[in-house]
C-alpha cells in the first residue's frame, strides 16, 4: 500500500506526483498551470495558498510568521500580482506559549505593514499535545495583477536569459544548519518580501515569467520550466551566485545548493535584450545586489536543464526525488 513519505514533501518529482494524485480527482485541472506560483482568477486576481511547517520555527534571518507572509506574498509578486490581502489560519498545539505565538504574529504583521497587505480573514485551531509540532500556519494571499499580460512559463522562448535575483540556497542552508547543529556566522535565511524588488521589472516588455525558488530550490524551478514547456535550459555554474557559508554547509552535509530552498530569491526569465536592464533594476534593491544572469533558454536538449560546469563540462540538472539527507560517506 503506497504511503506518503517525506520525499513527497521535498519539492521535487515525488511532490509533483503527489500533486498530480490530488489534482487528478478534481475536474478541469492541469498540472502545468498548477505549477505556477499563483492562480489568476477572473483574469486579473491572483490567489495562492501555502502551509508553513518550518522547523525550527525560529531560524537565522526570520521565523515562521515572517515566512508565512513572505511565502504567499512572493507567490503573487512573481506573477506580477500586487499582494493586497491575506487570509491566515493558525493551527497551534496545546501548550504553545502565547508569547511565542504573539512574536510570530508580530513578525507577520510587520511584513504586512511593509507591503501594505491587509489581513482580512483568519482561523485558529488548537489541537491536542502531539497532534501538531508546535505551530503550523497557512496563508492565502490575494492581489491584483498589474501587468497587461499574465506572466507565466508559457511565455518562455529560446534565447531568453535566466536571472537569479540574489544568491541561492540561503533559506535551506540556514534551516539545514539549525537542524544539524552547524553554526554559520554570516548565514541567514533570505526570507524577505520580493515585491519591492520585482515591481520595477514589470515595466519591461521582455519580462517572460518569474518563480520564487522555494522548496526544491532553483534546480527544481528550472526543471519545471524546462519540462512544463519542453524547452532546454542551460545554466552556467560559475555564474550562479552562492555565498561561501551556503557552499560550506553543502560541502559539510553533502547537499547540492541548486536544490536548497530560497525564500527571497526569484528565478526570472527575460528576453535577451532586456537582461542587462533587468539586472540593473534588480540591483537597485538592497536584497538583490547579488543578482546575476545564470543561464539561457535553448532549443537544444528540450525538456532538460543542463549545467555547464566550472571545468567546462556539461551535465543534467534533474528534478530531485527524495528528501535531501546529509551525506557522510
Amino acid at each position: 500500500m503506497e504511503k506518503v513519505t517525506l520525499g513527497h514533501g521535498s519539492g521535487g518529482r515525488l511532490t509533483q506526483n503527489l500533486i498530480q494524485t490530488i489534482l487528478s480527482v478534481f475536474p478541469e485541472q492541469n498540472l502545468t498551470s498548477n505549477l505556477e506560483d499563483c492562480a489568476l482568477i477572473w483574469g486579473k486576481i491572483g490567489v495562492t495558498i501555502d502551509s508553513f511547517t518550518v522547523s525550527p520555527r525560529d531560524f537565522p534571518g526570520g521565523d515562521i510568521g515572517e515566512l508565512a507572509i513572505c511565502g504567499s506574498a512572493n507567490d503573487l509578486a512573481v506573477r506580477g500580482v500586487l499582494p493586497r490581502f491575506i487570509a491566515m489560519s493558525v493551527v497551534a498545539e496545546e501548550g504553545l506559549h502565547m508569547a511565542e505565538l504573539s512574536r510570530y504574529m508580530k513578525s507577520a504583521a510587520r511584513i504586512c505593514e511593509d507591503l501594505n497587505i491587509q489581513l482580512v480573514a483568519g482561523d485558529t485551531k488548537v489541537v491536542p499535545k502531539g497532534h501538531v509540532e508546535g505551530l503550523f500556519i497557512t496563508t492565502c494571499a490575494v492581489g491584483e495583477q498589474i501587468t497587461e499580460e499574465s506572466l507565466g512559463m508559457d511565455r518562455l522562448q529560446p534565447g531568453d536569459k535566466i536571472i537569479a535575483s540574489t544568491s541561492i540556497g540561503r533559506h535551506g542552508a540556514a534551516i539545514g544548519a539549525s537542524r544539524f547543529n552547524l553554526n554559520p556566522e554570516n548565514l541567514k535565511s533570505d526570507c524577505a518580501p520580493l515585491w519591492p524588488a520585482l515591481k520595477p521589472l514589470l515595466a519591461l516588455k521582455g519580462l517572460r515569467c518569474m518563480r520564487d525558488c522555494t522548496r526544491g530550490g532553483l534546480g527544481t524551478v528550472m526543471c519545471e520550466w524546462a519540462e512544463g514547456r519542453n524547452i532546454g535550459i542551460t545554466l552556467v555554474e560559475k555564474q550562479i551566485p552562492i555565498r561561501i557559508a551556503v557552499q560550506s554547509i553543502c560541502d559539510i552535509l553533502g547537499f547540492d545548493p541548486l536544490y536548497l530552498a530560497c525564500e527571497g530569491c526569484a528565478a526570472i526569465a527575460v528576453a535577451p535584450d532586456d537582461a542587462d536592464r533587468a539586472l540593473g533594476l534588480l540591483r537597485e534593491s538592497s536584497l538583490c545586489e547579488e543578482a546575476a544572469v545564470i543561464g539561457t533558454v535553448t532549443e537544444d536538449h528540450a525538456g532538460m536543464v543542463a549545467l555547464q560546469t566550472e571545468i567546462g563540462g556539461m551535465r543534467v540538472v534533474d528534478m530531485p526525488v527524495g528528501e535531501m539527507l546529509p551525506r557522510i560517506c
Binding site: 504511503k3 513519505t5 517525506l6 518529482r13 515525488l14 506526483n17 544568491s167 544539524f180 560559475k238 551566485p241 552562492i242 555565498r243 561561501i244 557552499q247 560550506s248 560541502d251 559539510i252 552535509l253 553533502g254 547540492d256 547579488e290 537544444d300 536538449h301 532538460m304 543542463a306 549545467l307 555547464q308 560546469t309 566550472e310 571545468i311 567546462g312 563540462g313 556539461m314 551535465r315 543534467v316 534533474d318 526525488v321 527524495g322 539527507l325 546529509p326 551525506r327 557522510i328 560517506c329
Partner: protein, 382 residues
C-alpha cells in the same frame, strides 16, 4: 572576502581545466578504462561533468566505493529486525535510512514511528545514549577506513564512561581486499585506479602499492575537487603513455605517505579484521572489522542475540555487477525502467553516491546528450 569566494586555496578550476583536458586528449593513444573506487569521486565526476570533456576512448567506471551500496542486504535486514525489538533507538548516517532490505528500509520504519536518528558524527550516537538512559541506542556504523576510527574512538569513550545502553552494528569495511578482488577479476580490464583520497589519509601509500607493484596497474591517489580528478586521469593516461605503472600521490596536501598512525592504532585497538559480506560481491576475507573480545559488550549482535541473515537479493537487480565494475548501470535491464530514483530496486539507485543514482540523475536516465565517456564504456562492454 567577497560572498562568492569559495574555499581559499582551492584550484580555480576553469582557469586551468582546459589545459589538463587538452593534455589528456593529446596523450591518449589507445582506449583506456579507469576505475574510481570512492563514491565521493563518483559524485564529483558526475556533478562536474568530467565524462563530457574526456575523449570517447577514455572510460571511467565506478567501483564499490559507496559504503551504503556495499552494505549487504542481510545487514540491513538485521538492523530492521533489531528495530522491531522494544526500546531500541537506532542512530545512523543519512543515506543508510533509505536502503532497502528485504522488508523495507529504516526510513519506512521511522515513518511508522520507530525511533531512528539521523546523525552526522559517531560521537552524536553516544550522546543520544547518554541523554536517553531508558533506551537502548544502537549505532549502525558503516563506512571504510576513513570512518572506522571515529567509531573506534566512540567505543573507547563509551567504555571509559561506562555507558551501558550503547551498542554497535559494525558494518565497516576495508578497501584493499576488495580492490585486490577487482584487480584479479579476469572479466574486468582496469587500466588504472583513481584511489580514494580520504581512505589514503588513514592508510597512507603502502596499502595500495600492491596494485601497481604486483598487478602492474597505474594508480593515482586523488583529492575530490573536479581538478583533482582531472589531474588523476591525466596522470594515469601519462603513465600509460610513458609505460609506467606506479602509485602516484596527487593529494599530498592531505595524504602522508605513512598514513594516520593514531587512527590506525585506534582501529587495531578496537577492531580485528574479519571476513565481510559485500552486497553483490559476496564474502571477502579480511575485508571487515569485528569488535575485539574486550569490547564484546558493545556488539549489538551479541547483546541482542541476533545474527545477520543471508536473504535473496531483489529479482533482476544487477547491483552486484555494477559494484564489481562488470557493467555500467545503463546495462542493467531495470535501469530507468523498473528502477528509478522514485522506485529504486537496489541500493545503487538509492544512495546519493550510488552509481545507478548518479547515472540516472546526472544523465537523466541515460537520455542526456553529454555522456561521451559512458557510451564509450558501453562500447567497450559489448
Amino acid at each position: 572576502m567577497s560572498p562568492f569566494d569559495r574555499e581559499p586555496g582551492q584550484i580555480k578550476a576553469s582557469y586551468t581545466a582546459h589545459h589538463v583536458i587538452e593534455a589528456i586528449g593529446q596523450r591518449l593513444t589507445k582506449p583506456l578504462t579507469f576505475m574510481e573506487v570512492c563514491g565521493t569521486h563518483t559524485v564529483s565526476i558526475f556533478r562536474s561533468g568530467i565524462r563530457s570533456v574526456l575523449p570517447p576512448d577514455l572510460s571511467l567506471i565506478s567501483g564499490p566505493g559507496c559504503p551504503v551500496c556495499v552494505t549487504d542486504q542481510g545487514e540491513i535486514d538485521c538492523a530492521i529486525n533489531l528495530l522491531d525489538m522494544p526500546d531500541i533507538t537506532m542512530a545512523t548516517y543519512g543515506d543508510m535510512l533509505r536502503v532497502p532490505g528485504t522488508r523495507g528500509s529504516l526510513s519506512e520504519r521511522k515513518s511508522e514511528g520507530k525511533d531512528v536518528r539521523l546523525i552526522t558524527s559517531a560521537a552524536q550516537a553516544l550522546s543520544i545514549a547518554e541523554d536517553n538512559p531508558e533506551r537502548e541506542i544502537v549505532f549502525l556504523a558503516v563506512g571504510f577506513e576513513t570512518t572506522a576510527p571515529a567509531t573506534a574512538a566512540t567505543i573507547l569513550e563509551a567504555a571509559e564512561k561506562n555507558i551501558t545502553n550503547f551498542s554497535i552494528l559494525v558494518y565497516h569495511k576495508q578497501t584493499p581486499p576488495v580492490l585486490e578482488q577487482l584487480v584479479k577479476d579476469p572479466d574486468l580490464k582496469i587500466n588504472g585506479f583513481i584511489l580514494p583520497g580520504h581512505v589514503s589519509v588513514i592508510l597512507g601509500h603502502k596499502a595500495y602499492r600492491f596494485l601497481a607493484d604486483h598487478y602492474g596497474v597505474p594508480c593515482a591517489i586523488a583529492g575530490f575537487e573536479p581538478m583533482d580528478i582531472l589531474l588523476a586521469i591525466a596522470d594515469l593516461v601519462f603513465q600509460h603513455s610513458n609505460g609506467e605503472s606506479a602509485l602516484h600521490s596527487l593529494y599530498p596536501r592531505a595524504v602522508r605517505p605513512e598514513g594516520n598512525q593514531k587512527a590506525l592504532d585506534l582501529i587495531s585497538k578496537v577492531f580485528t579484521p574479519c571476513s565481510a559480506r559485500w552486497r553483490g560481491l559476496g564474502l571477502i576475507p579480511s575485508s571487515g572489522y569485528a569488535l575485539k573480545e574486550e569490547f564484546a559488550a558493545f556488539d549489538a549482535l551479541l547483546r541482542f542475540g541476533i545474527t545477520i541473515p543471508t536473504p535473496k537479493p531483489p529479482a533482476g537487480c544487477c547491483c552486484g555487477d555494477v559494484l564489481a565494475g562488470h557493467i555500467t548501470p545503463l546495462k542493467c535491464p531495470l535501469f530507468a525502467a523498473a528502477c528509478t530514483p522514485m522506485t529504486p530496486v537496489g541500493p545503487c539507485m538509492v544512495s546519493s553516491e550510488g552509481s545507478c543514482s548518479a547515472y540516472y540523475k546526472y544523465n537523466r536516465g541515460g537520455a542526456s546528450p553529454w555522456k561521451r565517456s559512458p557510451s564509450a564504456t558501453e562500447a567497450a562492454d559489448d
